[in-house]
Amino acid sequence: MVERYQVAIVGSGPCGMSAGGRAAERGMNHILLERTDHLSDTIYKYQKGKHVMATPDILPLRSSMPFEAGRREEILQAWGDTTKNLGVNVRYNAEVTAIKGQKGNFELTLRAGEKIVAENVVLGIGLQGNLRKLAVPGGDWSGVQYQLDDPDEYESERIVVIGAGDAGIENALALAKQNTVFIVNRRDEFARVKEANQKAILEAIEAGQITCYYSADPKSLTPGRLVLTVPDGEAVVECDRIIARLGAIAPRKFVESCGIVFPNDSAEALPELSPRYESNVPGLYIVGALAGFPLIKQAMNQGYEVVEFILGNDIKPADQPLLEEKFRALLDRGRSVDEIIELIRTRMPLMSGLTPLQLREFLLDGAVHFPKKGEVVFERNDYTNSFFMIIDGGAEILIDPTNPAVRVNLGPGEFFGEIGLIAGRRRSATVLSGGDSFMIECPRRSMIKLINSVESVARAMNEVAMVRQLRTYLSPHLTNEALAPVLANAEIRYYKPGQVLFTEGEPDNGVYLIRKGSVTVARQIAGRDVIIAYVAAGNYVGEMALLNQAPRNATVKAAINTEVIWMDSARFRQMLDAAPELRGEVEQRLLTRLVEGETMKARPEAGNIIQFLVEQGVGEATDILLIDETLCVGCDNCEKACAETHGGVSRLDREAGPTFSGIHVPTSCRHCEHPHCMADCPPNAIHRAVDGEVYIDSSCIGCGNCSRNCPYGVIHMASKEPPKAGLLAWMLFGFGHGPGQDPSHKWGQKKGGDGPKLAVKCDMCKDLPGGAACVRACPTGAAVRVSPERFFSLAELTAR
């Protein structure tokens, strides 16, 4: 007798388990099939004691199962208990090998040959069940494993970790504590991993704790002996164990055998689904990672929702209340959330490549605005870097700061704000609302995530951005006709710090407009490179050779990660001929550079200061604290002022940091153009204020990512200061601790305060009237805060 169910759920990961829980709660005749002998194998296989995050925080959990951030063990325990309490019908060791049939009558075959019939099937098998295997001769050696439960289990072994993704790095770092560890990286760098992991692995390699083989691929394996192909031949690694972390791919063969179609042949491709998670086979639903939602909370929500859908209950996604709140004003005018999302998708060509689910997720972070005609959206020189989409109405961009009448009009479907987003600098123009508009403001972080993950968005944005950047940075009066030939073969080029754009003596090969980052210009003087200028984003280099029709007379290098728009010389010259105004401007700038070059040649020490500051990473700063050592009396009143105005913890260390030519760069926040600290902040607690201050808000969870990601070591973790006596009580009677004194006196020392530690950093005293307390408290005027453009400017350096 074959068992019959209303729904069969395949896989007991977060989504399948959640579906099972909901089905049990709703009294459905159901079965949850799990391949192994325990629930949720992927989480089960996490490293022991791993802290599991519950992102995205903003998304509410909708499931019959509990879930909140915590240790792996606690989460598994809670799931196990709830599964039992709800009476979920789980069958373990029940791997499904085939699914046949159609809605109302699916037949599932189990590994043991047993058959199960179900009206509907929910496929929640994820990807982790299908790990990429080590495909080399001898790869079946018993010493090869694809997971690591407890790194402390191994001691004094030689272990090779293959794969330089986050999982591989985390394993290698944990194992390196008591083993000899090698890591094999297919590329010549650690890319596409969390910044904190990248930093940690590079430090471990630098310190000799881990040996890394770059640009290496496994070639063959015999027990205890791994052969690698490396750039200069082969390398042999003797090892006791190999941990291969090569990622996971969709178990395509099995999924296709169920009749499900994939949109393309790419290894990363996932099946296409309806908004109700139904595949092209009616009655066969897919949820979780296989549906493109790898996060635990999303998957659990889908498990719940899919059961409701099967029951014919057309519930809205869990984020519905959030979106309703967001679009409240429009809902009052009789539109539904779905209509609005469809409107955005069809109106905005930029967003058309997104699925409705992706778009919903993206919009959760956005803010909705309804500016009236003429209302200011943002002002030139504001330090915001969000991105705006015009859904309805329009916008007017005041492109010429000297003449507010020169405006560019944008209509529905267009966007703006991308120049500030890319450059990480102040807004280059004021934007007004062009009518009674409906705009969506997307925060920097979600926009960057979108650009990095959806190719079509990146492409569409760059196309528009390039034209605007040329206009903004060259001349607002350039016509489309004048620009067209240049644009036709212009391209965006990327440079790493220290990489050369062009070298002195080379023939002219184009003009470089810097749209992100900054560069240094150096010239050979008496046999050595002398820096003669620092050029920030929004300017161009390479025009000198073009106008003089001569070889390059200087070498230009990226100071930090830099993006330029490269333009062909001949076409650029044509454009100049068509735009006499621009020609005059370029000519003027060239003359300025010639004069500057001569002055700098006579003052090599100024060049040395630029060189020193660039080495300190000042190039990516927007505001930096410098101390004039010839005025500093070492009273530390700056540190005390910082501590006293910021909960007892100083965010700057005056004494630390290098000094050159009387200029001291203390350890303090530089408010970077593209803040490293923002890159990986789970609660998105780090923001940039209108005046440029990068600050951490009260939603900090104390994870420490920002502190690890900051290359300048200016963020640290501190608990709240215990209450202290008043100033006079301390001065007259010695009560409590004095300004800046213990318990939060020195960096790195144990703090006196109890309670959770949160990240603290310089906020440039944005909430205090009068500005930075450190500078205001300097009795001799030695401490100054400056932007690098000012500091690097020649006039100021030569005036010394």
Binding site: C632, P779, T780, G781, E796
Partner: protein
């Protein structure tokens, strides 16, 4: 040099185009003129209307000047920069010397009134010394440090000590003894005068250097090479030690005057209160 509207490389003396100097000078000129014009019968003294006026101005100035100690510890408040306060503190402090002297009518004696005056002069003189130190020492210190911090120097010295032991290890016991003594008995800093002097006439490393040098000519072959290397290393350490001691001296100079300036201020305020009390008691 000017940065973001703020002068750097401009000392506190020139602050805001000598604004506070002008202010103080104006106050002094007014006081002197009044003193000149006012010719009381009993000769100038603190009991005339001008005497009381100057005394009141002086007392208020003392309170304001002493308030600096509180103001510099109150952070993130007020409209003025601490630099304003310090500049005013300096010039008005000097002005106080003249105003208080005029207030006294040059009448001094062995009493609490003159004690208050003497303490005030002590505070102002120590402050003037402090100002000189603040103007002079930071540049000297920067030059002496050569882009190193004291910690860097200490680390270098510790590294050199290891190298010195190594270089001496192949040489005879006498050298070994010298090197060990030098390492163990060398001090940086120390007591009050030692820190301020910035030198150590009994530096064990200098002594070791001289003795090893004297002995070095007796060695030959590989020993001679080792001895030469040892001398080089010792000389390098002596040089670094001298630099570290100078840094300690600079640090001490920047701090030491406060040990006079602040206690004397407290004494001055006490004496001033008695002075005022006594004056009104014997009205």
């Amino acid at each position: 040099m000017k940065l973001a509207g703020v002068s750097i490389h401009k000392s506190i003396i020139e602050y805001r185009g000598f604004f506070y100097l002008k202010l103080a000078a104006g106050l002094v000129l007014l006081s002197v003129a009044a003193y000149w014009v006012h010719q009381p019968l009993a000769g100038p003294n603190g009991g005339t209307w001008l005497g009381y006026t100057l005394g009141t101005i002086g007392a208020l100035l003392i309170v304001w000047l002493a308030w600096f100690g509180i103001r510099k510890r109150r952070y993130g408040v007020g409209r003025l920069l601490l630099e304003d306060w310090l500049s005013g503190h300096i010039y008005l402090g000097v002005a106080l010397l003249i105003i208080a002297t005029l207030h006294s009518g040059f009448q001094f004696g062995w009493n609490v009134h003159t004690l208050a005056y003497v303490l005030m002069v002590g505070v102002i003189v120590s402050g003037a010394f402090g100002l000189l130190v603040y103007l002079r020492v930071p540049a000297l210190r920067t030059e002496n440090r050569q882009n190193m911090s004291l910690d860097d120097m200490m680390a270098l010295i510790a590294g050199l000590s290891k190298e010195i032991y190594q270089a001496a290890s192949t040489l005879d016991d006498e050298v070994g003894q010298l090197v060990q003594e030098a390492d163990q008995r060398t001090r940086i800093g120390g007591g009050f005068w030692r820190q301020l002097s910035g030198t150590d006439p009994h530096c064990a490393t200098t002594r070791a250097l001289n003795k090893v040098r004297a002995r070095a000519e007796q060695f030959s072959g590989a020993d001679a090479d080792a001895a030469r290397q040892l001398v080089t290393l010792l000389a390098r350490k002596v040089e670094l030690l001298a630099r570290a001691r100078r840094d300690v001296r600079h640090h001490a100079l920047l701090k030491v005057w406060l040990y006079f300036h602040v206690p004397m201020t407290v004494g001055l305020i006490a004496a001033l209160l008695i002075h005022i009390f006594v004056v009104f008691l014997y009205w």
